[in-house]
Symmetry: C2
Subunit: 445 residues, 2 copies
């Protein structure tokens, strides 16, 4: 019997745990799951005989280490900053490790030691990062295998609300950590390269320079630039590509409206506001509008919007930003925290709502003197509020990878990413059974 | 004979050193001046018999301490981050200390120890901070002395180019550290209070929300908000004032044009640009404009400016931002560093140029049921490129304060600011002899 230790039983672990339990009997696995919240673990295990519920503080090395010693494989769903500590434990106990988070330089530096210990440390095997790497590398390797030269790669991903649950003027609901959505794009300019020209977009322009994208049957989307597109040249082995761009997808209208919050200064997380005991959405907004002796906040906000953005007014009104009811539970918040509070009240998934994960890659390449284009897209809908598309697309790649490590399909040791055919091919194949599949279109340009 | 030790002989020390030497014989002072650049010290001393030129690294405690032990008073013109170390040395050697820089919480915490040592540690005794405190407190104390209640205090200061040397389309030249001008307003929103309403202005709006100000004989100015106006309520003892605002002055048109650089992202100092070996002003600008296959940078920039700002185009052209000549001497610069390089080439003081320091306070107060207003302004022109207005207004308050400490006029020990009548009255009186004087206007409103 093989033992899998799952660290963390939050929302993002639902589909991962279900897959592991569903495949535990045939594979002779015991799934040991730890979270500080015992009821969360028990709920996820649902009485399955191969599941063992544990409750301790997995962030404490001394509490974590005995369990890691027992395991053949650890899947860490902890906050990303703890992965390095867990990796050290896994090296010392010769235990394989999977994380869905971005690989850090410090994690990368453990490669030799992981190899010496004979273990796999697989990183970035969720959806973004994860599924994006796998689905892109499949096409990149196919083009390169025919002798083609890739000249442009643009890639977009977005966690959105499913069309059937899309019933608000923002065409958006939080399907992931709201704080990350409020802070999206902060901390330095977005950088990419287009036709050999390096381009930088500052935060205050990010939601104003957009790509338009349509997907048959799902309508229109817009993409705004992710912070760092340049590093993907190395990740994908495309060092000399003239154009590389990665972006995040939203429905049309969202970004231009979000830009209003940025321009007002309401997404800032760098300082705490003063005198906020009685703060209401209205007084919060008013703090970012010029003083006027008598003009109502609505009128000042309209002046701020300008004529050309006046069609956005109703989106903001719907959010309740003109209401004068106190925002409770906030203690000297940053503007970003106050804004998050307002948004979460209106933009959360409701009972019965489904989410939607959209990914699209756009390639251009030269082959035998001709220019070609490939687009590849995936749209996946969630099952319900627990087994969301976000949970499925994050958890299933990690779960399938776990199976491959334990059954010996995945042999190479060391600190790695899912960018090699022996990793991504079986995972992409199995994901199709879960309706996570890509549709390719080709044309000559 | 009393000994004064001056740490640092840069541009900001010129007028300070001249005053100390000019008054050294009558007061029986020896002025010991240290800078790493010996020629700079010798140039400032100009062979004066009471000046002693020293060259060592004043940032090194072991090199500095023997000189501090010899001195009765230290004037530190070092970068602000070193003042605390110097203050520790001054406490241990019981030596008085003057710095023109903002008082830090750590510096404030030395108050008891400074008192125990019987020394004065006078901070913020330059122009801004310094002259602003003294000239404002004189009026505040006068109003309060009559029983008036101050309801509004707005204060502006700007280092500008004198009208006779104002010959470029930006109506601006660097009279102080250009880096600080490029980074002005970064690092958190500007905050102030108006009629009891807390107001925040994010960086991307800072140069767009302006106050208009006119001064007889000197024309029009605009003010943009300084980062923190709120803390001045405590400094000036105006804790419950409904309106307090501090701003920086520029000539009309400067701010709206500067805002274009901010909106483009060219003032960011948080990341290094990639592939900048052959960077020119033109390619630097192009990195912040959208990609286009064939449209020239000038046309893309015009689209960015929009019709309503098209009158600014010539300012940018005059700066040379469309030129394709490499920017030399920059190694992977931040955008702010690259922009500074372009600006310094065009906006520096030239031989014979004079600078100008402008300060204006606007008060409103209630007295005996009536509302009154007082404005108080000061315009000071520099003598030349060495004895600039900036150097005079920074150095002379510190120098006069040095005299007051050494001749026993200023008696109170401890860590302090120039906000008490016994400090500011003699200093403001003597500054009038140097043409640094305020003109007050009063009216009933």
């Amino acid at each position: 019997m093989k033992t899998i230790l799952v660290l963390g039983a939050g929302l993002s672990s639902s589909s991962l745990i279900r897959y592991l339990l569903d495949h535990s009997t045939e594979n002779d696995w015991q799934i040991r799951i730890v979270d500080r919240d015992m009821s969360l673990v028990q709920q996820k295990i649902g009485g399955h005989k191969n599941g063992v519920a544990l409750s301790f503080n997995a962030l404490e090395a001394s509490e974590r280490l005995p369990e890691i010693e027992k395991a053949d494989l650890v899947i860490s769903m902890l906050p990303a900053r703890f992965h390095l500590e867990v990796a050290e434990d896994c090296i010392s106990t010769k235990t394989n490790l999977i994380t869905p988070s971005y690989i850090s330089p410090e994690m990368r530096a453990l490669d030799d030691r992981a190899k010496a210990a004979g273990i796999v440390i697989m990183n970035e095997i969720g959806v973004d990062p994860g599924l994006d790497h796998m689905s892109a590398m499949k096409i990149i390797h196919a083009i390169q295998g025919k002798g083609g030269e890739i000249t442009s790669f643009k890639s977009f991903c977005g966690g959105l609300v499913a069309p059937e649950s899309d019933n608000n003027p923002w065409n958006y609901k939080f399907t992931w950590n709201p704080r990350n959505v409020v802070l999206a794009g902060q901390g330095g300019a977005a950088s990419f390269i287009q036709d050999g020209q390096y381009k930088y977009i500052p935060y205050n322009r990010l939601f104003g320079r957009l790509h338009n994208i349509s997907i048959d049957g799902f309508g229109d989307f817009v993409g705004y630039a992710n912070r760092d597109s340049l590093s993907y040249r190395e990740t994908y082995g495309l060092e000399n590509i003239p154009t590389i761009y990665r972006g995040t997808l939203r429905r049309p209208g969202y970004c231009v409206a979000w830009d209003v919050f940025i321009e007002l200064g309401m997404t800032d997380d760098s300082y705490s506001m003063t005198n906020t005991e009685d703060m209401t959405p209205r007084s919060f907004l008013n703090a970012y509008l010029p003083y006027h002796q008598s003009m109502p906040v609505e009128e000042k906000f309209k002046l701020f919007l300008r004529e050309d953005r006046m069609d956005l007014f109703d989106r903001f009104k719907w959010l309740g930003i003109f209401k004068d009811k106190p925002l409770v539970g906030l203690d000297s918040p940053t503007p970003a925290q106050a804004l998050q509070k307002i948004l979460v009240d209106k933009l959360s998934l409701e009972d019965g709502d489904k989410d939607m994960l959209v990914m699209i890659h756009e390639f251009e390449y030269r082959l035998n003197g001709e220019k070609h284009a490939i687009t590849s897209h995936m749209v996946n809908l969630g099952e319900d509020e627990v087994y969301t598309s976000m949970s499925n697309t994050v958890g299933l790649p990690a779960a399938i990878c776990a199976k491959m490590i334990l059954n010996g399909t995945l042999k190479s040791a060391g600190v790695t990413l899912p960018v090699q055919p022996e990793v991504y091919t079986p995972i992409l194949d199995e994901l199709e059974k879960f309706n996570i599949s890509f549709i390719e279109k080709r044309r000559t340009i």
